[in-house]
Symmetry: C2
Subunit: 325 residues, 2 copies
């Protein structure tokens, strides 16, 4: 199947690497809003202008849209879903129902198949919340993120006067994780579950106390968390905090049996060296599923909840039953 | 939907408890091969003779078959799938393709829907092997079981002369787990991955050394493992080893990106106080999915690989997208 990438940042590069790992896929190329001649791809994929994409309707089986959730995807995905089978990683949880409706309507124009909100959260973590809660209805869900880099929080720090650069890590609180794993079903506040760890490069002569205070009291981003601020040099930031690791945990604890005497713990965890490359790998596996659904005539907008797992694998149903069940 | 249970051992009792936790389900009753008047159910479900089951074709939406994989399910599931939507937990991995074909043929008689090999392994562990391998094609899978009771190994010890009772625990080797989690992709032998821990009640005057030797050298069951044998009294066995806990780990490590520089670890684990009650809870969630598939006209034999996750949940697609994605 022929895959194309729309948008070429870290996620788009991750998709390019991931397609190269899958023998049943071929990369048609990368579409960018920048002048194509200024873009150099990581495995040598051909670069096209985003403006030309509609000329390639018959050359692309699935288009993986690698834009941002804040401003790109809400308009990009519905527009492109009119002409292409698409996969996106829209991750603004509260706006998913609206985005779903918009994309679903777009797919009706030319009978395409779309998957929105794919990746690991939303995505694999959502799947695990669903499976675990259906299996243990008498129980509680817990999602922890990290340790990992939050791009949004890093950006928020960079907007403070006197800050040259910053990197923010979201860290799960080990003690809270252990309480959940013990099966005690704790009630946990935002502050109980995660801490925020910031590395900040300040301009020479900047008021460090004011910067630290502005970070720690920033509503929504930091005020509800125990936040640690470390000032370091640009060299240290570049040397020690260049990566984009992430991960997290979805845990469900639930009870069964006579007088609910038996406790069960289902835990799913990810430990990722590169958040965008892993997310891209999820998008690519689901691109395979979306193409197969479209071939079967199952058009419309989907989420990971709607996709039979077998469609993700390059193996046949017979091979899966014989070797993986 | 109306659920019935066929076969009433530990698994059947677990299903009875699990159905009571799901508001959209009702338990029609329990079918047993024993005289019905001798069977007392744990939540007061009505008991019927297995011989009469065909009289209740119109009263049962899904029949959960709680028999053993060795001799019951290979004939029971195909026979019952002719007249009922069924779910079983057939777990002889090597015979799954044959069992699938037999059950699939049976469903064609009256257009029923069947799910075989449901539970946690095969079942949830299989799902995690599939998802993780599709997402990280350049990687390795590892499955560890335990710490938990193996009924088959306990039975094997009980067949030794001079043994009155026994309980065998399968234990994952922590060092092997840590090597896998470190991302080093180790090659692990059977002996590297699991140890076997046995608690044995011997007859008075029995030759303990011979019993221990017979256990440790038993082909397939123990000879390939480091096995520890502890002789204890019947009172100790009943007091300390009455439970049926189990669990395990499915871990995939894989690499992505430029020169495969980035490592990722996906880990799924279960820690279960009661193996049969948890397995039953999985069967019941999938019974919901099977009934919905049958309502849509999707007949035939299925495995967990074929089932869209959304069908397991009592929530609507809209609720799932709004609250669980």
């Amino acid at each position: 199947m022929k895959i194309a990438i729309y948008g070429y940042g870290n996620l788009g590069k991750g998709v390019e690497y991931a397609v190269a790992q899958n023998e049943d896929m071929e990369l048609f190329g990368v579409f960018t809003r920048r002048p194509p001649e200024t873009v150099k791809t990581v495995t040598g994929a051909k670069v096209y202008s985003a403006e030309e994409i509609k000329n390639y309707r018959n050359n692309i089986d699935v288009l993986i849209i690698c834009g941002g959730s804040a401003t790109d995807l809400p308009t990009m995905t519905p527009e492109l879903a009119e002409d292409f089978n698409v996969v996106d990683s829209f991750d603004t949880h509260a706006d998913i129902p609206k985005h779903f409706d918009n994309v679903d309507a777009a797919t009706k124009k030319n009978n395409t198949t779309a998957l929105i909100s794919c990746g690991w959260d939303p995505g694999l973590f959502s799947l695990n919340r669903l499976y675990a809660s259906a299996i243990l209805p008498n129980g509680n869900d817990y999602t922890f993120w990290g340790k990992g880099v939050s791009q949004g929080h890093s950006d928020a720090i960079r907007r403070i006067e006197g800050v040259l650069d910053a990197r923010q890590y979201t860290c799960p609180v080990d003690e809270a994780l252990e309480r959940v794993r013990s099966g005690e079903n704790p009630e946990l506040t935002t502050r109980d579950k995660h801490t925020r760890l910031c590395y900040v490069v300040a301009a020479e002569g900047a008021d460090l106390e004011r910067i630290e205070n502005e970070i720690k009291t920033m509503p929504k981003y930091f005020a509800d968390y125990d936040t640690t601020v470390n000032f370091i040099s640009q060299e240290e930031l570049d040397r020690d905090h260049k990566g984009i690791p992430h991960g997290g945990f979805v845990i469900r604890t639930g009870k069964t049996g006579e007088n609910n005497a038996h406790n069960h713990i289902i835990e799913y965890s990810l430990k990722l060296d590169s958040n965008p490359e892993f997310t891209a790998s999820v998008l690519v596996a689901y691109a395979r599923a979306i193409y197969r659904l479209w071939q079967k005539g199952e058009v419309g907008c989907k989420t990971v909840f709607d996709i039979p797992p077998a469609l993700l694998s390059p193996l046949s149903d017979e091979e899966l039953r014989a070797h993986m069940l």
